[in-house]
Symmetry: C2
C-alpha cells in the first residue's frame, strides 16, 4: 500500500458558507409539489393500461413466447420431480396443520395452478410450507380443540373423540383462515404495499424461521412417540407442550418409536447419499417418495397398526371435493392469524423469489407476487386448502433439475392431481411417524441457521441481538404474535442505534483539510481555540438532550454554571445600580460624604472579575463547530436544540457554526425557524475545514483591527 | 452578503483513501471493552457512596445551606399562595378522579411533603393534575362502576346507589393504582431509566395533553348540566359519553346550569383582571379560592341544593385518616393503567422541571425525580391519595410569587393540612358545578395548544402529523392506551423518515471541491464519466432495496439486464466452445472440410459484439461514487447491499468507490466482511472530491499507459 504512487491535488477557493454556495451554484426553487406527484402517478394512458393488464396476468405475456425447444425438457423433468416431492411433504405438513393428509395434497394442487397464471417468479415452488402449516395448526387447536368433540361411547362406556366432525370443523377453520389471509395479500398488493417486506430483515427472517422450526418439531413429537398430549395454545404454549410430552414419555408406543427412528436414520442416510451422488445423477433420488412407499408396504405387510398400535394415516378419499364457501362466521376469530400468515407467506416467497431472480437476471414484481399469492390462497380457501407459500427444499430441487419457467410448477400440480385421483388411497397404511420423520429431516436446513449466531456476533452485534430476540419471541409467543413482537423489536433497534450515538471531538490531520476523532488517532491535532463536535447519528427527539449533555461534557466547561453565574451577576448589578441610584439621591439630598462608600466599590470589583471570567476566559474556546454531516433530518426538537445551543454559547461569547448540512437539513432548519435577522445562512459551512478557516480568518481580522486600533 | 469580503484558501495535499488516512493519522486500536466499561460503572468508593446517599435524599444537602435571609420571605408568600390554589384544584380534580373531594386534599398534602425531601426541582408544584386525575377516573369507572353498588330501597321501592360503599371501593382502587404507579417509578428510577422520557417529544406531549383535556372536559359535562349519564370505559368511550350527554340534555337541571355559567364567566373575568393587574400586584388574587368561598356562601344562604336540586360537595370529614395497606387483590387489574400513570406523571413533571432548571441555572436529576415522584405516589397510596404529578398553573404561581426552593412546596402542604383539619368541613355546600367550572377555566392553556397545528404545519410537517395523530389516538383510545399508541407512532415516524430518503446525483460546483444535487442547482455540473450517488438517510434493512432501485434508476441503465445479457452470452460461449470442440474432434476424425463452417463464425461475431457492448459501452460511466456521509450505521443488510452493488457494477467494468464514511461506519464495513483481499480500504475516500480525483487520475494513468503501449 505504501509503495503505491499517490497523486497530489491542489485546491484554491474561497471559504464558502451555505448562502454563498447557493448564490454561486444558483439554487433553483422549483420543486414538484405533492399534488403534481399524485397527478403524475394517477395519469392513465393506453400503453399504460395495457402494461397494467399484462402485469396483472403475467402468463399472457410469457406463455406465447415459451420456447419449447429450450425449456420443455427441463420443465418436464423438474415438474415431475417436484410433484413427487409434493406428495410426502403435502401429507406431512397437513399433519402439522392438524387436518387430514389429503388436504395437504389439495393444497399442493389448486394454489400451484393459480400461481402459474399470476406469478412472476420462474423458479420458486409454491405449495405447503412448514412454518405456515404450524401456524395454521395453532389456529385450529385454538378454535377446534379435541375437547370440543367428545362424545360418549356406549360400547366402551367412556368418552371418545368424534373424529369425523372434528376433522370437518378443522378443515373449515383452515379454509377460512386461508381465504382471509389471501384477501389480505390481494388488498396489500392492490394498494402497492409490497414494501412492507422490507421490515423483514434477513436476521429477523432467519431467527423467525428457526424459532418456528422449534414449534414444528415440538408439535410432531407426539407422532414420533405415539402419545397424545393435550395441545395448548396462546403464549408459552410451547413450554407447556414440552412439559406435557415429558410427562407422557413413559406411555411411549415402542412400535411407533422404532418406526420413527428407522425412518429418520434411513432418510438421513439416503439424503447423504443423494448429496454425495448429486454430481453423477441427472435428477436426485426421490428419497421421501421411496421412504413413504417402503414404509407403506412394510406397514401393510406387518400390520403395524393392528399388531403394534402404530398410528397410520387412515382413510384417504379419492378424487377432488366440490368447492365450498368459507365459513364467514369464523372470519372475526381468525383475522389476526390471517394477517400474520399473509405477511409470513409473502415474506418467505418474495425473499426466495428475489434470490433466483438475481441469479438468472430477471425481476419479480413484489406487488404482483402479493396478488398472485393472495389469489392462490383465497381461491384455495374455496377448495379446502390451507395457506401456502413456497418451500426452500422444493425450490432447490425445481431449479437444480432444470426447471426454467412456471410451467414446471404447473406440471407438478398435474402430478399431484394424478396421485390424488388414483394413487392416494394406496397410502392408507402409511404410519404418521414416517411423515413426522420427513418433517424432521426437512428441518435440518433451518437448524443450520443456528450457526448465524456466531457469524453475526463477529459481523454485527445488533443484528445478532435481533436474531436471538426474534427467535426467543417466536418460541415463547408462537409464530403469529412472535412475528409482530419481533418486527416491533427490530424497529426499536433502529431507534436505539441512533439514540446512543458516539460523540467525539474532531481534530485536524496535520497539513490536510481532514478532521478525525481525537481519541481514535494519535496524529490528529486539536485546532487551537476551536472545538469541533461530532455526533455519529441524526439529531432528533430521542437523543437531543444527550447531544447537549455530551457537548457540555466534551467541551469541558459547564455552560449552565457559567450562564447562571452570569445571570446572578446581572441581578446583582441591577440591585447595585438601584442601590447606587438611591444613594445618589440620598447623597444629593444630604449633600454630604457617604460613609459606606467602600462597600459598593468592592462589589463593583467582584462584578468586574466575574464578567471578565465569563467573557474573556482563556479556557473557553472562541468557537464551536458542530459537524452535522451524519444528520439525516431534523425534527422540531432537533432544531430547537441547535437554536438553544447557539443562543447559550453566543451569550458567553462563543461562536457556534454548523458544518456539513445536507440540503434537506438546511430546509429543516429554515422551516423550523432557526434563521432570523441575526442568524443567517452564513453560519452554515460546506465542510468543517471551511468553518475552521472562517473562524481563524475572522479572528485574525479582529486581532488585526485591534492592533490597528491600538496603533492609532 | 455579496459585498462581504470572502477569504480564499489553498490546500495542496495527496488524494487520500481511508487506509492512507489511517496510516498518516496513526489510528489507535485501544478501545475500552464492554467489560471494562461495566467494571468502571460498578466501581465503588467512599466519596462515591457519600454522593450517592446525598443524591438520594437531596434535602440533606440543600436544607442546611438554606439562606433564610434570601429565600424565606419568597418561599412563605409563594407557599401560602400555592396552598390556597391547591384547595379548589384538589377538590375539583378529585371529582375528575371520581373520588370524594377530601381525597384531593390528602393528595395535595402527603405527596408534596415527600417530594420536599426527595425532589430536586426547586420550582415545580407537586400535587393533583388534571390529566392524571382523568386517567384515574377511567380506571375507577371500569373497576367500580355505579352498577356494582345498586341496592333496593324499601322506602321508595326503587334501586338506588349505595354511595358509601361505592366511594369506599373507589378510594381503594385509586390508592392501589397510585401505589403501583409509584412502585413503577421507583423501579424505573433505580435502574436509571429516566431516559425513557426522551421518547416523549414535545409535539407528542402537547398533542397528548390536549387530547387528555378533551377527556377532562367531557367527563365534567355531567356536573355542568346536572345530569347523570352512564360512564363508559374502553376505546371510543369518549364518543359514547358525548352521545349519552347529548341524549340527556333535555333533563338538564336549570339551577346547576345557571351556577355553571355564572361561575365560568366570573372566573374568566377575574382571571383576565388578574392578568391585567399582574404587574401592579405583588401576589395574584386567589381567584379560585374567592370563587369557592363566594359560591359556598351563596349556596348555603339560598339553599341551592334543597330548593333547586343543585348537586353539592356534601359531607367533608375533618381530620386525617390513618394509613391503610393498598388492596393487593386489585394490583393485577390496574397494572397497565399504573404504568401509563407512572410514565405520564413523570413526563409532565420532568419537562416542567427542566424548563425552570434551565431558567434558573440549576439541574434536575432525571432518575432522582423518578424516585422522588415514585416515593410520593407509593407513600400516598398508603394514605388514600390518588396519583399526582405537577400542575402547570400552580407551578407558574409558585415561581411568580417568589418561590425559590422546595420549602415553598412544604409550606403549601402545611396550608392544606390546616384547611383539612379545621376549615374543610365549611365547604359542604359548595356546588360541584363550580368545581367543574374551575377545571374548565384551568384548561384554557391546554386549549391554546391547538395553535400548535398551524405553527407546526409551517415548521415541520412530520411533527404536525405526530401532534395530530397523538391527539386523535388519545381522544379515541383514552389517555392510557392512547399514550402507548402515540409513542409507537412517533417512533415509526423515525423509521418512515429514514425509510423514504431523497436520492440524488451530485455534481460539482465549478472550480470547487463542493458537490451538490444536480436537480437543486443550476450551476452544478456532472463530472464526465463519473456518477456520484447520494442518499439523504442511513442505509439499513428498511431502505436497502430502495437504495439499489434508486441507484439503477438514477444511473439510467439497467444493471440487471446487462448482467443477464452477460450471463446468457457466457452460457452461449460455453455451448459454442463445446460445439467447436466436438466439431474439431469430428473434423479430426473425418479429416474433411466441414460444410457448415459459416454458421459458427457468425455466432462468434455476435458474441464479440455483445461483449464489446457490455465492457466498453461509452454510455456506461467509468465509476460510481456512493456518498455515504449521512450514514449513521450499517447493519448486515446494508453491508450486503453495498457489497452486491460493488460486485455487480465491477462485473460490467464500472468501478465503485465509497466516500465520506464515518469511523463507526468503516468499522461496520470491516466487521460485516465488506473488505477482502480484492476490496481494501483503498476504495474508501474521505470526501467525494478525493474519490473523483482518484478516478480521474487513475483513468489518466491508464490512458497514458495505453498511449505508451500503442506507441511502442
Amino acid at each position: 500500500m505504501a509503495e503505491r504512487r499517490r497523486m497530489g491535488y491542489s485546491m484554491h477557493r474561497k471559504i464558502l458558507d451555505e448562502g454563498a454556495v447557493d448564490e454561486m451554484a444558483e439554487k433553483s426553487d422549483s420543486k414538484t409539489s405533492l399534488s403534481e406527484k399524485v397527478k403524475k402517478s394517477m395519469r392513465c394512458s393506453g400503453p399504460r393500461l395495457k402494461n397494467c393488464l399484462l402485469g396483472t396476468v403475467p402468463v399472457v405475456s410469457w406463455l406465447p413466447r415459451y420456447s419449447i425447444r429450450e425449456n420443455a425438457l427441463g420443465d418436464l423433468i423438474s415438474g415431475i420431480s417436484v410433484g413427487i416431492m409434493q406428495l410426502p411433504q403435502g401429507m406431512a405438513y397437513a399433519l402439522l396443520a392438524a387436518v387430514p393428509p389429503v388436504f395437504g395434497l389439495y393444497s399442493s394442487f389448486y394454489p400451484v395452478l393459480i400461481y402459474f397464471i399470476f406469478g412472476t417468479s420462474k423458479h420458486i415452488s409454491i405449495g405447503t410450507y412448514a412454518v405456515m402449516s404450524v401456524m395454521i395448526g395453532g389456529v385450529i387447536e385454538r378454535l377446534a380443540p379435541d375437547s370440543n368433540f367428545m362424545i360418549w361411547d356406549n360400547e366402551t362406556n367412556s368418552s371418545i373423540i368424534d373424529v369425523t366432525s372434528r376433522d370437518a370443523e378443522r378443515v373449515r377453520v383452515a379454509a377460512a383462515v386461508t381465504f382471509i389471509s389471501g384477501l389480505f395479500q390481494i388488498v396489500l398488493g392492490l394498494v402497492q404495499f409490497g414494501f412492507v417486506v422490507t421490515y423483514l430483515s434477513e436476521p429477523l427472517v432467519r431467527g423467525y424461521t428457526t424459532g418456528a422450526a422449534i414449534h414444528v418439531i415440538v408439535s410432531q413429537l407426539k407422532y414420533t412417540f405415539g402419545i397424545s398430549p393435550v395441545r395448548h395454545s396462546g403464549p408459552f404454549s410451547l413450554i407447556y407442550t414440552v412439559l406435557e410430552v415429558c410427562y407422557l414419555l413413559p406411555q411411549t408406543n415402542v412400535g411407533t418409536l422404532v418406526v420413527s427412528i428407522v425412518a429418520i436414520i434411513g432418510l438421513i442416510l439416503a439424503k447423504e447419499l443423494n448429496a454425495y451422488l448429486s454430481k453423477k445423477l441427472p435428477i436426485p433420488i426421490p428419497v421421501e417418495l421411496l421412504g413413504i412407499v417402503i414404509a407403506t408396504v412394510v406397514s401393510w405387510q406387518v400390520d403395524l397398526n393392528g399388531k403394534y398400535g402404530v398410528d397410520v394415516v387412515g382413510l384417504i378419499p379419492s378424487g377432488l371435493q366440490p368447492p365450498a364457501l368459507p365459513a364467514v362466521s369464523l372470519f372475526g376469530q381468525v383475522i389476526g392469524d390471517a394477517f400474520a400468515l399473509a405477511v409470513v407467506g409473502y415474506g418467505i416467497a418474495i425473499s426466495l423469489g428475489r434470490i433466483f431472480a438475481l441469479k438468472y437476471g430477471y425481476s419479480v414484481d413484489s406487488n404482483q407476487e402479493l396478488i398472485a399469492l393472495g389469489l392462490s390462497n383465497s381461491v384455495g380457501g374455496f377448495f379446502q386448502c390451507f395457506a401456502i407459500s413456497c418451500s426452500m427444499s422444493r425450490t432447490m430441487v425445481q431449479e437444480s433439475t432444470g426447471g426454467k419457467t412456471q410451467v414446471a410448477g404447473a406440471l407438478s400440480a398435474i402430478v399431484i392431481l394424478f396421485i390424488t385421483l388414483w394413487i392416494g388411497a394406496l397410502f392408507e397404511d402409511l404410519p404418521k411417524a414416517v411423515l413426522a420423520a420427513i418433517i424432521f429431516v426437512n428441518l435440518h436446513g433451518m437448524m443450520k441457521q443456528f450457526m448465524d449466531i456466531p457469524a453475526l456476533w463477529k459481523s454485527n452485534k445488533v443484528d445478532m441481538v435481533v436474531w436471538v430476540v426474534t427467535f426467543i419471541l417466536t418460541v415463547l409467543f408462537n409464530p403469529d404474535l412472535g412475528l409482530a413482537a419481533s418486527i416491533g423489536f427490530s424497529m426499536l433497534t433502529v431507534i436505539f442505534r441512533t439514540q446512543l450515538p458516539q460523540y467525539s471531538l474532531l481534530g485536524q490531520v496535520p497539513d490536510t483539510d481532514i478532521y478525525r476523532p481525537l481519541e481514535d488517532y494519535n496524529q490528529v491535532r486539536q485546532v487551537p481555540g476551536i472545538l469541533i463536535f461530532h455526533s455519529s447519528a441524526t439529531l432528533y427527539f430521542a437523543n437531543a438532550e444527550m447531544y447537549q449533555d455530551a457537548l457540555a461534557k466534551k467541551s469541558g466547561f459547564n455552560i449552565t454554571k457559567i450562564l447562571s453565574a452570569k445571570k446572578k451577576l446581572e441581578a446583582k448589578r441591577k440591585r447595585h445600580e438601584k442601590k447606587n441610584a438611591k444613594k445618589a439621591k440620598k447623597a444629593a439630598k444630604n449633600n454630604a460624604v457617604d460613609p459606606g462608600k467602600g462597600e459598593p466599590e468592592k462589589e463593583e470589583k467582584d462584578i468586574a472579575i466575574i464578567e471578565i471570567d465569563a467573557e474573556h476566559d482563556p479556557s473557553l474556546p472562541r468557537a464551536i463547530i458542530l459537524d452535522l454531516s451524519p444528520v439525516n433530518f431534523l425534527d422540531t426538537v432537533g432544531v430547537k436544540t441547535l437554536r438553544r445551543i447557539r443562543n447559550d454559547y453566543e451569550e458567553i461569547g462563543v461562536e457556534v457554526l454548523l458544518a456539513g448540512c445536507q440540503t434537506g437539513v438546511v430546509d429543516n432548519l429554515q422551516t423550523g425557524g432557526f434563521f432570523n435577522e441575526k442568524v443567517t445562512k452564513s453560519c452554515l459551512f460546506y465542510t468543517v475545514h471551511d468553518a475552521v478557516l472562517h473562524c481563524q480568518s475572522s479572528r485574525k481580522l479582529s486581532q488585526d483591527k485591534e492592533i490597528t486600533a491600538t496603533h492609532f
